[in-house]
């Protein structure tokens, strides 16, 4: 496949691996923020190709994994509204809420539909004017512009039975929060598709103020290895900065249309993250102007204050402080078919990735 196969070539991967072994002297720890990166590292066995001086940590960049128990409980409450159709991206329905999951509610008769694109939710709304179609908006800056585009379209076309329950999140505050909390890293392998939307400006502080290296990386093994090489070169010469490895997709200024839509529809709010607590200005809520499409304002649902599942250490894993092997439930009580925490649900979740590629 064009733009994939070239970036999976073994000789290139091995050449970068050799180069890394030559130049790496300092002990460095890099965090891959994005679940897609975690998956690529394990799938292609990249750990084994790095010199012992380079350590990788997984971060909090899997949207399903960071969706809070509170959000899930609210989504489940939505599914019990008479005449409601819940629309959601696939993985979310399997995440256990405090008492039940969307999957169980669906089995019990709630109308919950898995969609691939938010535009399908809009179609369902058009075709079912007597129903309330609620879209569960999760995802970072890559996904949130699509939700914004759908809301604008609903407004333009006067679709009055389409609502969004927004748990959309933005990346920079959580990256900063991790460093502020004392997670010891020297650089970030930054998420390629998030940055395609946002541009690289969001990382300037991390390099300038915190002295961290930041390289925006693609998702194929060659991309990842090259990004690690770029970070290593930066850190060996003590010159941390923001660079783009994924130049075929990412421009420093980002995607202006997508950014415009985000700005038009959403404003930042303090938001809950699974296992990480509330992080200031890390979430996106729907602006007053589009309140008619805000499920939260339409239904004013309140759910009891939830607690994270017992024994699950997703929070420490999302912070890069622990790995799934440190969890007593991993691969025993908690498996992809019967997950305890959200990190085991999504294919991009760290626990699910470790489970799939465990030896």
């Amino acid at each position: 496949m064009k733009y994939i196969d070239e970036y999976r070539k073994k000789d290139l991967i091995l050449a970068v691996s050799e180069e890394l072994k030559k130049i790496s002297k300092k002990q460095i720890t890099l965090m891959e923020v994005c679940g897609g990166h975690t998956m690529a590292i394990h799938r292609f066995g990249l750990h084994a190709l790095l010199p012992p001086t380079i350590h990788l940590l997984s971060g909090p960049g899997c949207p399903v994994c960071v969706s809070s128990q509170h959000f899930l409980d609210t989504a489940i409450a939505c599914s019990k509204i008479p005449g409601a159709i819940i629309t959601t991206y696939g993985d979310l329905i399997r995440v256990p809420g405090s008492v039940t999951s969307l999957e169980k509610e669906k089995a019990d008769g709630a109308d919950i539909r898995i969609i691939y694109s938010v535009l399908e939710a809009l179609e369902i709304a058009k075709n079912n004017p007597e129903k309330a179609v609620i879209f569960l908006g999760i995802g970072f800056e890559t996904t949130a512009p699509a939700t914004a585009a759908a809301i604008v379209q609903a407004k333009n076309e006067n679709i009055s039975n389409f609502f969004v329950l927004s748990a959309h999140k933005v990346m920079p505050p959580v990256m900063k929060a991790l460093v502020d909390e004392g997670v010891k890293i020297d650089g970030f392998i930054a998420p390629g598709h998030v940055t395609a939307i946002t541009g690289t400006g969001i990382y300037n502080n991390l390099a300038a103020v915190y002295g961290l290296g930041v390289v925006v990386a693609g998702f194929e093994p060659v991309d990842m290895m090259q990004a690690i090489l770029m970070l290593t070169l930066q850190l060996e010469s003590a010159a941390p900065k923001v660079e783009i490895q994924y130049k075929r997709i990412v421009h420093p200024e980002g995607n202006k249309i997508a950014l415009g839509l985000l700005e038009q529809v959403f404003e930042q709010k303090d938001d809950r993250w699974r296992g990480l607590g509330v992080i200031p200005a890390s979430g996106l809520k729907i602006r007053e102007e589009f309140a008619a499409f805000d499920a939260e304002k339409r239904y004013l649902l309140t759910v009891p204050e939830p607690s994270d599942p017992k024994g699950c250490i997703c929070g420490s894993i999302l912070r890069g402080q622990k790995t799934p092997n440190d969890c007593g439930l991993f691969a025993g009580k908690c498996t992809p078919s019967d997950p305890v925490g959200a990190c085991m649900v999504s294919g991009e979740g760290t626990c699910a990735t470790y489970y799939k590629y465990r030896s």
């Binding site: 050449a15 970068v16 897609g36 399903v64 691939y116 395609a196 997709i249 839509l261």
Partner: protein, 74 residues
């Protein structure tokens, strides 16, 4: 769910495009991208084209990598 895949644009109609990934056809919304033409490659994410693939930059990245590979050969 965050995955995005390079897809080839076959045709464009209004704010959506017909794209193919390994000969399978998909519809891609162009609400987040303008100036998309048949023959372009776009990254398809959750039904939306989020960015074009820049062929020149792709070639340049590979050139750099091949240089590293050439140098690392004994």
């Amino acid at each position: 769910m965050c995955l995005a895949i390079p897809a080839k644009v076959i045709s464009v109609e209004g704010s959506s495009a017909l794209v193919t990934i390994e000969d399978v056809e998909y519809k891609a919304s162009l609400l987040l991208l303008d100036d998309v033409n048949p023959g372009d490659y776009v990254m398809l994410h959750a039904g939306f084209a989020i960015e074009k693939v820049d062929a020149d930059e792709a070639a340049e990245t590979l050139r750099l990598l091949n240089e590293i590979a050439d140098n690392s050969r004994p």
